[in-house]
Every structure is written in C-alpha cells, then in structure tokens.
C-alpha cells in the first residue's frame, strides 16, 4: 500500500498509516515524506513501513514490533521508548536516538548526533541494540542503563571529524558499548572503562553486525574485520554518593 505524503499534515498522515495498519496492511510505502513527526509511533503490529524522504522527529516512538526503513536521512529522537521492532536509516540521523529504548533495533548507516542511546535499558529478554555506522557527537551512551550501543566510525560524510565526541558514557551504569577500532580515552567520562572483548562478547557482537550489514547491504567481512573494544560502566550507581554518602 502506497501513501503520498506530499504536503500532508503529520496528524493526517499518521491517521492514514494507522488505518492502513488496522486494516491489515503488511507493507506500507510512504513517498514524498518531509518532516512529518511521529511516524510509526506506538504501532503494535509487525508491518513494514518504507519511507522515501526525510521523516520528522520522534520516528518510531513507543513502537512495538513494526519495521521502519528510511531511504534518506532522518532527524532527532528516533525510537524514543521503543519496545520492539526495527528502524533502519540509509543516511545520517540526529540527536537523542533510542531515548529510553527497551527493546528492538535501530540501525543507522552514517553519522549520528549528540546523546545517542541516552538511558537505554534492558530487562530479561528485552535487550535493545543501536548501531551507528558513522561518527557520533558528545554524550554517546549518556545515562545508559542497559542494552547495546555500537559505533563503527566507517560511513561518515565528514572524514575530518573525530569518531566520537566528549563526555562519552557520562552517567552510564549499565549495558555495553562496542566501538570499532578503539576509543579516545581523553574523551571518556569518569564513569566508564575500556575493556577487551571476550570470545562470548565477540560472538554476540558479530551476530548484531551481521544483521546490520544485511539490512544496509554492507559487506560483513569489511565491517567485522577489525578489532573492537568494549566500554563498560565502573559502577551500577555512579552518583550514589553525590548528595549524601550512602551505606553500601
């Protein structure tokens, strides 16, 4: 099913998408999208929404099981509190991706902005994974509580730019960040440390990356063919003693 989004107000567009989902559509193709907010929000069924154009902010928020494929760049706040499903972006994306995300996948081909993976979390079988193929801004993995963030630094429009920004992992207290090649330790927050991957880690990571490469038509040999490091929080309660010292 195809919907022409040219000049359509976001509320009307999302109503059209929701009624298409309710009437049992398996695949929805949106063309001429530009800036419409909240696409795919709260969708509970495993439909695939393909987007031509630049979708607006809060793409796939609260999404629960749908798949969104963006064939262009995307903006801020993708996958806010997303529960399950997948967002694939064949370009770059903005700030605050995967905010409080608690399951599912976000696969971005190129650069990402500030505060990516902020407060991602996991519980039992729910384990969100966000992979950025380009470079990242400051506060990568800020307040991260669970799940997996992966930064590749491979597909950037800006070769001059450093692979990641300052305050990497600020307030991180759970979850894992994998970085291809290595990190700039001067830009890490005090709350995190850098570790070697175990064989088990590498196996887990390779699984995520193979899926990423498949979605974005990349050569897994190239993406996987490099050393990765693992960034972990040093404490589960980095600010436990900030205001008043607590007994352990």
């Amino acid at each position: 099913m195809k919907i022409d989004a040219q000049g359509v107000y976001y509320r009307d567009l999302n109503n059209q998408i929701r009624s298409a989902v309710a009437s049992g559509a398996e695949k929805i193709e949106l063309v001429n999208v530009n800036g419409q907010y909240f696409i795919g929000d709260g969708i509970n069924r495993p439909v695939t929404i393909s987007i031509k154009g630049v979708p607006g902010n809060d793409l796939g928020a609260f999404m629960n099981g749908a798949t969104i494929v963006v064939w262009d760049n995307a903006q801020d706040n993708i996958g806010n509190t997303m529960n399950a499903g997948k967002v694939v972006v064949h370009g770059h994306a903005g700030d605050v991706l995967g905010y409080g995300m608690r399951g599912g996948r976000i696969h971005i081909l190129k650069d990402v902005g500030y505060r990516v993976g902020i407060h991602m979390k996991s519980y039992q079988e729910n384990k969100p994974v966000l992979i950025a193929g380009g470079k990242a801004g400051d506060f990568f993995g800020e307040y991260m509580a669970g799940g997996v963030l992966v930064l590749l630094g491979m597909f950037s429009d800006d070769p001059e730019k450093p692979m990641h920004g300052y305050c990497f992992g600020t307030g991180m207290h759970g979850g894992t960040i994998f970085v291809r090649g290595g990190v700039d330790e001067a830009k890490l927050s005090r709350e995190v440390g850098v570790f070697e991957l175990t064989g088990e880690d590498r196996q887990e990571l390779d699984g995520y990356l193979k899926e990423y490469c498949k979605d974005l038509k990349l050569d897994p040999k190239e993406v996987l063919g490099e050393k990765f490091v693992k960034v972990l929080p040093k404490s589960k309660r980095p600010y436990g003693n900030l205001y008043c010292p607590m007994p352990r």
């Binding site: 800036g35 903006q75 903005g94 500030y114 801004g137 400051d138 305050c167 001067a186």
Partner: protein, 373 residues
C-alpha cells in the same frame, strides 16, 4: 461544599519548542520571501502562535545608504513623540507605513512605519563625533536605546542599512502574510517560530531581535540573562524587550563592532569551551581562549541555545557548548542553509550538496563574497 478556588494556572498550553531557519546566497542572489516562508511553515508545530518573525537583507537597495528604521507603535501618542524625535535628530529621506494586509489570525496589531534616515548634523551630533569619538553607528545605537527606553509604546524593530525585521504575535506564516513578505526579495533571510517559555508573547518579544544590521533568532533559554544584561548596561545597552534573546543582539554589537573581535572569536566568547577543554589545547590557543573567557566572563551565554545571527556581512549559526538545541546546516552551490530541522532545509533545497550538524559551540560562518555589497 462549593469549591470557590480558581485554578492558579491555565493548564491547557500548547507545549512546543521554537523553530528557526535561514539561508544566504553568498553571491548576493535575490530570493523572494516565499522561499523562507515555505521553510519556516514546515516547522509550524515548533511554535504555538505566540510569535513569528523574519529578518531580510538586501531588501532596500534604493535606500542602501540610509539606516532603515522599522518602528512599531502601540499608540498614536508614541507615534507622534517618535516622529518629533526622529525629525529633531535625523535627515529623513523617505518614510511610509510598512504595508500590511489584514489577516483574521492577527489580532490588535500595533502600527508599523519605516523611515530611511541619516543623522542630522546637530550640535549634539558634532559633540558626539568630535569630542566623544563616536561613529554614526554608535550614534544610531544611542538613538535606538533612547526611543525604546524613553518613549512609551514605541519600539525600534530594526535599524540597519538595506535590511529589515518583520515580527509579531502569530504563527510565522501569518506574520508573513500580514507584512506581505512575498513582495520582498533579499540575499539573506532568517525566520523564527516562537514558543515563549518564560516571558510574555507580545509583539516586541517576537524574534528576530536586532540592533543596526545585527539580527538574532534563537531557540532556547539564556539562563545568564541577568549577568549579560548588567554587563551590557555598563556599555549603554538597555534591555527593553522583556526577553532573554535581546542580550545576544547587543552582545554581538559590543564584541564584533565595538571591540573588533572576529565572528569566530565572538562565538568563542558566547559559547566558550569548558576549562578542561581549553587546558588541553596547544599553548597559543590555550592562552587565547583563556583570555577570552577571562575578559568576557559576563558575555558567556549559559543555558541551551541554537541561534542564527545575520548582518550585512553574512550569516552565522551557533549552538551552546553541549548542543541542547538542534541545528542542521547544508550547502548547495553558493547557498548556505541553517535550520532546526533538516526537513525545513529540504523543503526549499531538495538535493543539497552537503548536510551536517555542527558541534556544540562550533560556529558555522557563511560570509557574503567580497564585493557583493
């Protein structure tokens, strides 16, 4: 029992987040107002109808030697007093009502007039030029401050050469319709869609804020407003618009025009890097940035912001140091675009050559090519 308590707040308030957009043709190509209207209208939902505005450069080529004063009047008395003031201090080459169109969405608009002026050679003028080393620009600034501060209900909306600001209470597309902006052409345009957070939504409080040919549109909150305001008062700048953004316009005038800082250095003063980053810089840079932070400690803008500032020299985009507000830039041929959302750029430039998000505190500077003006 009957409850007579009235609620202390109106809880029904459209919560939103401000939007800004702007572009420059570095070779001075004239672009119709309809283009910037299209771009800002795409971000309609970033505002809540309590403020919209535009700045346009290159719109008065026939009067480009004159300071173009856009005046807003809340009363006939304000108009009369201001026109007496202007006649006393200025040679007025031409003056007229700013053309407007009635629009159902715009309620109780103030009156708008524009004046193309040069300072008159009065005794006061000669005193200022000869004995106080003031330039014509300094004298214009003094007059703008006096009109805003001393004439009740009169506000200078803009005062630069070959440029003008158009702003008011309404969504930006409504303000554009009210001021008939599709009838203007310029080579730099900026626009703002307002969601007032802490201050009233009134005609003078809409963006852009201006002084001479500086104009600022801003998304965010300047938490350091009090410090900045007191610092500016020492140099004769008086804040009258009841809104934080006003200090940015005056600060740029002080830093760039008066103190001679480059736009790059002025940006470093407004969004100075943190001390630990400064300490990690090579020695020359470390000393420079240390000096900037020490001298302009009261010029530092604290709080979240994305701003666009324009002048007859060009267009600059700047974020706060930790990028708490969005800003996306793009280039296409000799055009540079800057906006809160990529979609607002793509709406008027579907295939840019390059699109990127600048880092926090890193200014994006697009200057007009030499000789364009």
């Amino acid at each position: 029992m009957k409850n007579n308590l009235k609620p202390t707040h109106r809880f029904e308030k459209d919560i939103s987040n401000c939007g800004l957009t702007g572009f420059i043709s570095k070779s001075g190509k004239q672009v119709e107002g309809s283009v910037i209207i299209k771009s800002i209208s795409l971000m309609h939902d970033r505002g809540n109808g309590l403020g919209g505005g535009f700045a346009a450069y290159g719109i008065y080529p026939e009067f480009k030697e004159f300071f173009a004063f856009h005046l807003m009047y809340e009363s006939g008395m304000a108009l009369q007093l201001t026109e007496e003031y202007l006649a006393e201090h200025f040679l007025i080459d031409h003056h007229e009502e700013i053309p407007t169109r009635r629009n159902a969405a715009i309620t109780n608009p103030p009156a708008f007039r524009r004046y193309f002026v040069k300072p008159l050679e009065t005794a006061e003028y000669r005193e200022a030029r000869e004995f106080q080393n003031m330039t014509d620009e300094d004298i214009i600034v003094t007059h703008v401050m006096r009109i805003n501060n001393e004439i009740e209900g009169a506000f200078v909306v803009s005062s630069g050469k070959n440029m003008g600001a158009f702003k008011g209470v309404g969504y930006p597309e409504e303000i554009a319709d009210f001021f008939r902006l599709e009838e203007y052409s310029g080579h730099i345009w900026t626009a703002h869609n307002r969601f007032p957070t802490n201050t009233p939504g009134w005609w003078g409080g809409a963006h852009p804020f201006t002084l001479l040919d500086w104009s600022i549109v801003h998304n965010g909150e300047i938490s350091s407003y009090g410090i900045n305001k007191r610092y500016l008062e020492m140099y004769g700048y008086l804040c009258t618009m009841l809104t934080d953004t006003e200090v940015v316009a005056y600060m740029l005038d002080l830093l760039i025009r008066k103190h001679g800082l480059s736009p790059e250095l002025a940006s470093m003063a407004l969004a100075a890097p943190f001390w630990d980053k400064i300490d990690a810089l090579p020695e020359d840079d470390r000393q420079l940035l240390t000096a900037i932070r020490q001298v302009y400690g009261s010029g530092l803008l604290n709080g979240p912001f994305a701003i666009l500032f324009a002048s007859n020299e060009g267009l600059i985009g700047l974020n706060d140091r930790v990028k708490l507000r969005p800003l996306v830039c793009a280039t296409k041929d000799d055009f540079v675009y800057m906006a809160s959302e990529e979609a607002a750029i793509r709406e008027i430039c579907s295939q840019p050559d390059r699109v990127w998000s600048p880092r926090g505190g890193e200014p994006v500077i697009a200057r007009l090519n030499p000789g364009v003006i």
